[in-house]
Symmetry: C2
Subunit: 247 residues, 2 copies
């Protein structure tokens, strides 16, 4: 009997060309598919909630696979983790209704972006933070961030090649914190994100923190709907998919 | 005029065969020497305070180089960091007396070891923690750790191939903490450490935490002076050289 199994997976994106299968390099989706082939002796379609880019990490990516298997649901993570490389981990598996779809049924997603704002690098953080040398004013960044809250057309905050039905998205929460060791973290929760949206929001907030963009300019940038008015796309290594909710 | 320059360096040891130059692979010492060659146009002897092993990290390794240069001391880190790969960083440089020696003048050293004690890996921590699946009792480990304090012959806690004048060392401090995200950290401060000493202490404390070695057995293991009575050598990736003091 076919079952729909939800896998909660985590990965270090450093060595992968992102989530989605492609010709240019190894991706996480591809390795999960290969594991499925070994485990279930069948070609399985692996659907992920989020197409994370090359170098982007995930602590909580939601995946669904429809398979027929006698392996108990409790043992599914163990079986996967034996076939996967150590930088991809199945944290949890659960049975979900056959009609569950990890993209269409999403209620909200949360991402966290980490900036190392310091004069010198911390080598162990190279793959997990955006090293930014110039001093950033976190208070001003916090004030600017408020303008992203709510429902807006985020056309100015997505990569210009984005093809999508609508560029309207809702941001429920955006929190900026000064953490220890010169880390600035930016947590963003929304109903969905356009391609590069979090990284362009971060790149823009960094320019605000440096006083190169005024904090009240954010509203105008959003209204302009022009990609070139926003800041640069912050690099992928600082970004982690934190959570995907279906409730 | 020749000057003795102290460099405080940090590195991610993942991709290196440790500190000391060797034939089998690239080491940190070798890359610092190559940078010196480029910067000072001379062969410079690079002396480090600690010979960290392959895969071990440093947040604060102390290095001395004796060179003649017109570069100001303030600019030395900048110049080095332009020639070094991003996983090795010169944090600071200062002029020290010609007779200063980073090994002989050490007053104490501190290491931190991180264990991820969890049912599943956290991929972003793979290179920086010892993933240990079985549950560890941190309270029992804390009690056992006290037996390491003070001056002892640590022959049972060094790799059996160690050749040294004396295996007597003094441990000033050993702190074990349960941190967030299932991390257990072990901080050890001593006047010096034998080869693999911190990693064997950790490997032994892990066996205590698992109740495979009794917490009161530590004293007997030390007194036995037999390597085989102690626990296994914990893997390198959990270990970071935290500090070296000369005062």
């Amino acid at each position: 009997m076919l079952q729909n199994i939800m896998l909660i997976i985590a990965y270090d994106g450093t060595n992968y060309c992102g989530w989605q299968k492609q010709k240019n390099g190894i991706t996480v989706q591809e390795l999960i598919e290969k594991s499925c082939q070994k485990i279930f002796k069948a070609k399985v379609r692996v659907v992920g909630s989020s197409r994370t880019d090359s170098g982007v990490h995930a602590d909580y990516q939601v995946v669904s696979i429809i398979v027929e298997t006698s392996i108990t649901i409790e043992n599914i993570p163990l079986v996967f983790n034996k076939t996967l490389p150590h930088d991809i981990v199945v944290r949890e598996a659960k049975l979900v209704p056959m009609e569950f779809h990890p993209i269409k049924d999403t209620k909200y997603k949360a991402y966290k972006y980490c900036i190392l704002n310091s004069k010198t690098r911390q080598p162990k953080l190279n793959n997990y933070t955006y090293f930014y040398h110039n001093e950033l004013d976190v208070e001003v960044m916090k004030q600017a961030a408020k303008h992203f809250l709510g429902t807006h057309d985020f056309r100015a905050f997505c990569s210009s090649k984005t093809v999508t039905q609508t560029t309207v998205r809702t941001i429920f929460e955006i929190n900026i914190e000064s953490e220890k060791n010169n880390i600035i973290s930016i947590y963003v929760k929304g109903d969905g994100f356009l391609h590069n949206m979090v990284r362009i929001i971060v790149g823009t907030l960094v320019k605000v923190g440096e006083k190169k963009i005024d904090k009240n300019e954010i509203r105008n940038i959003i209204e302009s709907k022009e990609r070139k008015k926003a800041g640069p796309t912050a690099p992928p290594e600082g970004l982690t998919l934190e959570y995907v909710s279906y409730e």
